[in-house]
Symmetry: C2
Subunit: 172 residues, 2 copies
């Protein structure tokens, strides 16, 4: 079975990095909890002009993101039985391309270049897609697993996985 | 209809660039014609140690490739009627990622980031794929158009397009 796996908020954690940067630059609380249904920018005071995408567009932002808990071991496990592809909508932020490539090489060295895809729209032909953004499921024909992240917690009508343990229960 | 279009030897011409570089560094004839069925490296004297992939791995190689004749006008035309995606197996050469992005932005500014994909294996779900490498057709379910390039001229059994004019005849 072919499985497409998203990067941000599924393998890598940009939210922790955002909060660190906003803390460093504007003293936003480091233990900020993002409420269900909200994006990070809903929690940033309006008088702060630095937008979240200014950080994202900086070289280096994606190079040292923390891992989502359990992701490395789970992807390695999935790979024993399935063909795993990393599919990231990186093209919106061209400065992220090399950072994402090197981040994957560091943390997921067992994923070869043939199984990495940086795209815009996710027009992939895999059997399964694991993603935190429901918009990526719109034209996808296979099984869709919505990986929980604060912004999608209020969505219903999707097959949801709350963590990597639940992914393994469903796919192994 | 969704159409996936390859970059190298379909939109961009790395062969001309290779010959220029080999000429600059080793005096290989600038008017070298690559014989049907051959790759560029079949025409490089054995005593030359600089391999073709050493050039490809250099930053900048893909940034200023010449255009394949008629490609810009034809892709613009296709876009009037179809959804066009640029799908390049760039991941084998990570130093090419930014160069390819900026090359597309320069020559195909009418292709937005949502319609660009840099990958390894071409696991795309489009209706048509235009590519010079038959290996990219193996798992592809849609219509396959083999874009002529010296290395594939001896292949039979594929629907072939010899230039961009023939692509337009078939798809418009």
């Amino acid at each position: 079975m072919k499985i497409a796996i998203d990067m941000d908020e599924v393998l890598a954690d940009p939210l922790v990095k955002f909060i660190e940067l906003y803390n460093r630059d504007y003293g936003i609380s480091l233990d900020l909890k993002i409420e269900a249904g909200n994006e990070i920018y809903h929690h940033i005071p309006e008088n702060i002009n630095h937008k979240w995408y200014d950080y994202i567009n900086e070289k280096g932002f994606f190079r040292n993101l923390p891992l989502i808990e359990g992701s490395v071991a789970a992807v390695k496990k999935l790979q024993e039985k399935h063909e795993v592809y990393i599919v990231s909508a990186a093209m919106e932020f061209p400065n992220s391309l090399e950072d994402k490539y090197h981040w994957l090489a560091e943390h997921f060295p067992f994923i070869g270049w043939k199984n990495i895809m940086f795209c815009g729209e996710k027009i992939v032909s895999t059997d399964v897609m694991i993603d935190d953004r429901a918009k990526n499921f719109i034209d996808f024909k296979g099984r869709k697993l919505l990986f929980s992240s604060p912004h999608n917690l209020l969505l219903t009508g999707y097959e949801r996985v709350n963590n990597w343990e639940e992914v393994l229960e469903k796919l192994m």
